[in-house]
Amino acid sequence: MQPYLAVLILLGSLGIAIAAVYILSRLLAVPGVVGVGPFLSGGLPSEHAVSRFHVRWYAVTMVFLAFDMEMVFMYPWALVVASIGVKAVVEMFLFLGLLMVGVVYAWREGALRWA
């Protein structure tokens, strides 16, 4: 069997299973839809929860965005270390060392702390 066909078959079966859950629920469930407020341990909401949510860790996201780009290079690198040799190791760890400098800087600036 072609692998992509196998994956499509599996995905299709999962789709059928999930659809079956929803259809069974339609058929078997106690009828009606309960309209409920969000659960606020007995309280009622005073405004919509979906709002400008203030995350405190935005500085981490930026460092993360930059840092995880090293993965782009590291996955192919892992394949060729054995064939290229010392040069590849030195180059990659120089690269990573450069990035760690950035991480240490961010840490020193307190970017990894927020609470």
């Binding site: 196998a6 839809v33 969000p38 929860a49 949510f53 981490v60 892992a78």
Partner: protein, 308 residues
């Protein structure tokens, strides 16, 4: 993806995935019953089935002004991501899809959980769920990089991104022996991607269930089933990455894969009852300043070992 797929894997994969997911849920129930001091903990084995039964008959429920589309996408993408991640995992030596870049594929599918949990938390328009959804992204920022390094370290040891080749490369000496740091970090991130136990802050009790607080009925069933499937896949990938894949005496390869997966899975489930929830506002710094450098050193050691 050139080699053909063995038909039996296509049949076996969903059975194993569903069976192990149920086993994990049942084991979790039993552990909980033991912890609560129930005299007959074995009776808790059927608890997951009873909860599933309830999910099917329970009335539907809708919150105020929800984004149903996004919630549904979030809920359903959990099992879909788990299944797509599972297709590259060898059962014994045979995966469904022998991808040359299986490790990257697994990584990409696992990252989909970020979206799933956030969408579930956002879509229902509920304050507790919203906070829970955001907690997962913070958690992702902490666990994802060490996790990627752990994957890369194993791939580096084998010189391949194909999970079957990584498993085959451990002939004689399992990677867990000489990459212990990577193995531990991988287990940690396995807990994190399934937001399980000590890394279950996004669905923690202090938010009355966090991102999943408003789910009920089929949504809840699919969400929780997807989460257990993720836990299973995370455990199953540890086997070819660090535990020698299907290698073992006497028994056929697929049995060894299964036995090892069960062992890792049991350890992950057990961790929930042994450890408490980690909060990312405490953990972030440790993750970046200890786990990442430790993984870099581990990768360096492995890189030097594999040099010709």
């Amino acid at each position: 993806m050139r080699e053909a797929t063995a038909v039996w894997t296509v049949v076996a994969l969903p059975i194993l995935l569903a069976g192990l997911a149920f086993a994990a849920a049942a084991f979790n129930s039993v552990l909980r019953a033991v912890g609560a001091g129930h005299p007959e903990p074995a009776r808790a084995l059927t608890d997951p089935l009873r909860e599933a039964a309830r999910s099917l008959i329970v009335q539907r429920r809708g919150t105020l002004a929800p984004d149903r589309l996004l919630t549904r996408i979030g809920v359903i993408s959990l099992p879909v991501a788990a299944l797509l991640a599972a297709v590259v995992v060898p059962i014994g030596t045979e995966p469904v899809a022998r991808l040359r870049i299986g490790v990257v594929w697994f990584n990409a599918m696992e990252v989909a959980v970020w979206g799933a949990v956030w969408l579930t938390g956002w879509g229902v328009n509920s304050a507790y769920a919203l906070i829970g959804g955001y907690r997962f992204i913070a958690q992702g920022l902490a666990y994802e990089l060490p996790h990627m390094f752990a994957l890369i370290t194993a791939a580096l040891g084998a010189g391949s991104l194909d999970l079957t080749k990584v498993a085959a490369a451990q002939d004689g000496l399992w990677f867990v022996v000489w990459m212990p740091v990577a193995f531990v970090v991988y287990l940690f991130s396995a807990l994190a991607m399934a937001f399980w136990g000590p890394l279950g802050h996004p669905v923690a009790g202090d938010l009355a269930g966090g991102a999943a607080v408003e789910l009920s009925g089929p949504d809840r069933l699919v969400f929780l089933a997807g989460r257990y499937m993720l836990l299973v896949v995370a455990a199953a990938v540890a086997v070819p990455l660090f535990l020698g894949g299907g290698a073992g005496p006497l028994l056929p390869a697929w049995t060894w894969s299964l036995v090892k997966t069960c062992a890792v899975l049991a350890a992950l489930v057990w961790a929930r009852h042994r450890l408490l929830v980690l909060r990312m506002d405490r953990f972030m710094e440790l993750s970046w300043m200890v786990l990442i450098p430790a993984m870099l050193l581990q990768a360096l050691v492995v890189a030097i070992v594999v040099l010709p």
